[in-house]
């Protein structure tokens, strides 16, 4: 019995209204190992983590921690079992200093009754930072700390709460190489202390560097699990892809027309030196990983972000929108990533949501023309095949797919010149996706230039006429979407040029 199991999952299942997110997952993590967990979006990693964090309840299956059957009903339960989660958005109180954050879940040491014993707090913090061999400023609010230092504080806090199993979700995004080295040193320290670290990341190089074993998930099951020494990047990628899904995409017709938009050496804090062109009737896919600057590129074109240097020309004229209002006036529209948070006013009616982007079209002297609203909304609704009998109903009564169609209808009520889509099929069930893709294709055929950002590479490969690959805000490659298979797609995303 050399190796002991820290956590074992047996046949854990979970479905959300018909969609099977986890189809019986068997997994085990050992004490004193760093374990990589990889898989494409939708593979089931996040559902798995939510189950262990007590946010989601599994439908079936067993969870054992150090051999004991456990039921994780809440995040408090998870903490009590020694499970801790280091997220990208760390749950730190930004105006508390590191010490205060580390001991947030405890009683601070006291003196003279109610007064906090700062000396003792400092001593206790010192013990933890020594054990982990980390250092960060103790006396300033954590908002002044760098990203990696904040991650350290979060890890120290988990350590103080006697965490045994550390889940780290993309901890190295936004870290420089030097910072990443520091983080990895801390992870190795945790392993030496006999802790278990589960390292979840899309960055396969990092996973291969830091982990001892790797588990690959796909379509809600574990498809591979072996020691890191036996794995290569190519093997990981082929496991992640598996058999290619016979994807349901409308036939690609070349409707590419004249040059519409030309970006030249576009630069701001998140994108660097991006040059590309966009034509009428073309679908341009943006390939890249989460955090590569995909969304930020759209935001720059939409006037949410400015650009420090470089230029954009729309039909030969300089284009530099200062806010989305100006972009919309120029016929550039966006379907944002977070439908509920950014796309819809949930409490309001379908009419109100559809017309929100083009109020001046449905009014005279600022007064609404209800007849025009009715006519134009149902036209836009028809264009996107929105199924709803009554547009007076609140959008919150619609399904995810139909809600997305409302956002689409809003953006295409006036036929735009450029339609930008950020994760267009997110939260849309598989059945409704084909319809969405067909709508996108139809819009392109009618002359609209479309830019698609998606984490689902099949979506980009199935939809796009051309693909612009970016990494860390820089262009890797821009090429016609012919002869690119899933493997080479991922290679481009990871920054290889051929």
């Amino acid at each position: 019995m050399g190796i002991q199991e820290a956590l074992r999952l047996t046949q854990v299942k979970k479905s959300y209204t018909g969609v099977k997110a986890l189809k019986g997952v068997d997994l085990s993590f050992n004490i004193g190992e760093v374990h990589g967990l990889v898989g494409e979006n939708g593979a089931g990693k996040s559902t798995l983590i939510k189950i262990l964090a007590g946010i989601v309840k599994p439908d079936d299956g067993e969870i054992r921690i150090k051999g004991n059957d456990v039921h994780i009903r809440s995040s408090n339960d998870a903490t009590a079992y020694g499970l801790c989660f280091i997220h990208q958005e760390l749950n730190l109180v930004s105006y508390f200093n590191a010490m205060e954050n580390i001991f947030l879940g405890h009683r601070y040491p006291r003196k003279f009754g109610p007064l906090v014993d700062w000396k003792e707090l400092k001593r206790k913090t010192g013990k933890i930072t020594d054990a982990l061999q980390v250092s960060f400023p103790l006396n300033v609010p954590v908002s002044y700390l760098s990203a990696v230092e904040r991650a350290m504080v979060a890890i120290a806090r988990a350590f103080a709460e006697s965490g045994e199993i550390y889940f780290m979700d993309e901890p190295a995004t936004a870290l420089t190489d030097i910072e990443k080295k520091k983080l990895f040193a801390v992870i190795r320290n945790l392993r030496m202390q006999g802790k278990t670290v589960i390292y979840v990341s899309h960055n396969l190089d990092d996973v291969l560097e830091i982990t001892d074993r790797i588990t690959v998930m796909r379509d809600g099951t574990v498809v591979a699990c072996s020691s890191t020494e036996e794995m290569t990047k190519e093997m990981l990628i082929s496991h992640m892809i598996g058999k290619s899904l016979t994807s349901a995409f409308p036939e690609r017709k070349d409707s590419t027309g004249d040059l519409l938009l030309q970006a030249d050496r576009l630069t701001n804090d998140r994108i660097h030196d991006l040059s590309f062109s966009l034509h009428r009737g073309e679908i341009l896919g943006i390939g890249g990983l989460v955090g590569s600057g995909r969304t930020e590129l759209l935001e720059t074109l939409y006037g949410v972000r400015g650009h420090q240097s470089g230029s954009i020309k729309l039909e030969g004229k300089p284009y530099a929108p200062r806010d989305p209002g100006e972009a919309i006036e120029q016929g550039v529209v966006l379907v944002p990533e977070e439908r509920r948070r950014q796309g819809l006013v949930l409490g309001r009616s379908i009419y109100e949501n559809i017309t929100l982007m083009s109020l001046s079209e449905v009014s005279r002297f600022g007064f609404l023309r209800h007849q025009t609203i009715r006519k134009k909304s149902s036209e836009a609704g028809r264009r996107v095949r929105l199924k709803s009998s009554n547009y007076d109903n609140s959008v919150s009564t619609l399904s995810g797919g139909n809600q997305q169609k409302v956002v689409f209808a809003k953006t295409v009520m006036n036929l735009p010149r450029i339609l930008m889509l950020d994760e267009p099929s997110k939260g849309v069930d598989v059945g409704a996706r084909f319809e969405l893709y067909t709508i996108i294709r139809e819009l392109a055929e009618s002359g609209v230039a479309v830019i698609v950002v998606s984490s689902d590479f099949n979506e980009i490969l199935g939809l796009a006429d051309r693909i612009l690959f970016i990494k860390d805000g820089k262009m890797i490659s821009c090429r016609e979407n012919t002869g690119i298979d899933q493997e080479s797609y991922l290679h481009f995303c990871y920054g290889r040029e051929n």
Partner: protein, 336 residues
């Protein structure tokens, strides 16, 4: 963020699975939510009528009530606009007082009534726009911003009036607060116009749509091309304008200007809008709700007065009723 959405989705799923009985409860819930406040108002009328059948339910008394609430209704209709976007305006009382003082001083200095009123309203509207500047563009929270300007405006009113009440206004000025057109008091007339204007603005114009969109989801509104800061800025100006109008009517009614005459508006207007948010629309400020809120406050004050209950107790009861109304509507919302 992700967790929150998940929980919401779960709740929605369990909602869909609920059976017919729950559906019935839900319908009942929506009914109570939309009409409960109105029913409560009727109940209030019934109770006072039963307790004092000789005095309370008379045309004369009702006319009296409406005249009493006219100024509050004017001010509250402006506050409604601000609260539709989810902001707040504590400074309306101070603006009303300041406007009254300025108009009175100008009249005393010999300016014509019309010019005095116009100048005073201009100052009050500018004061509202200053709020808008601080809050929409300066990034102050509406609460802190208007709390600060309230103090400043109030101080200004005290300073220029030297802290005293200004008497001796021209006789014709009394017409605004005390005169009548075809038996309808002018103040009630102004109230009616304010309410109708506000109805048109909120429900029939693109500006109203923008206000409600910002109140519902500011980020989605911004990404839909709405200049959210400009809209919020203007909404504070509108609030300042109606506070000024209310201040003028009040000054005329009292036929004197006191540097703190408008103070009660601060809380009463907000209370009326809050009460109104529990009526007709779900949790959103709306103009007919605000009118209902104003009437509830007016009837409460009047009825308790007739019953001879002292004003301190009246304050306590008013507070309790607001808490109850808002609590009931939020409970009904949770259940549904």
């Amino acid at each position: 963020m992700g967790e929150k959405i998940d929980m919401k989705q779960n709740r929605q799923i369990s909602r869909q699975q609920s059976d017919g009985q729950a559906e019935k409860n839900r319908t009942a819930g929506i009914f109570i939510r939309s009409w409960g406040t109105l029913l409560g108002f009727m109940l209030l009328l019934a109770v006072f009528s039963l307790l004092r059948p000789d005095v309370f339910p008379s045309g004369r008394n009702f006319r009296n009530i409406i005249e009493q609430v006219a100024t509050l209704a004017i001010v509250a209709s402006g506050v409604t606009v601000v609260m539709v976007t989810g902001d707040f305006d504590l400074s309306v009382g101070a603006i009303a007082s300041l406007v009254g003082i300025i108009a009175a001083l100008l009249m005393k200095a010999g300016a014509s009534i019309f010019v005095s009123m116009l100048a005073a309203v201009a100052v009050g509207t500018t004061a509202g726009l200053i709020n808008g500047l601080l809050i929409a563009y300066g990034g102050l929270s509406a609460f802190v911003g208007t709390l600060a300007t309230m103090t400043t405006f109030s101080g200004t009113a005290l300073l220029i009036s030297k802290g005293t009440t200004i008497f001796g206004l021209p006789d014709t000025f009394a017409y605004l607060g005390q005169g009548a057109i075809l038996f309808i008091p002018v103040s009630v007339f102004v109230m009616g116009i304010s309410l109708v204007l506000m109805y048109l603005l909120l429900e029939q114009t693109t500006f109203g749509r923008r206000l409600y969109a910002i109140g519902g989801n500011e980020e989605a509104a911004f990404l839909s091309g709405i200049r959210t800061r400009r809209v919020r800025f203007i909404s504070f100006g509108i609030s300042g304008f109606f506070a000024s109008l209310g201040g003028l009517v009040l000054t005329s009614r009292l036929f004197s200007a006191h540097p703190q005459a408008g103070s009660p508006f601060m809380l009463n207007a907000a209370a009326a809008v809050f009460l109104g948010m529990t009526a007709f629309k779900e949790g959103e400020a709306n103009i007919w709700g605000t009118l209902l809120g104003v009437l509830i406050m007016g009837v409460m004050g009047n009825g308790l007065n007739i019953l001879g209950i002292n004003t301190y107790v009246q304050s306590i009861l008013t507070g309790l009723i607001i808490v109850m109304a808002v609590l009931l509507s939020s409970l009904a919302k949770k259940k549904a």
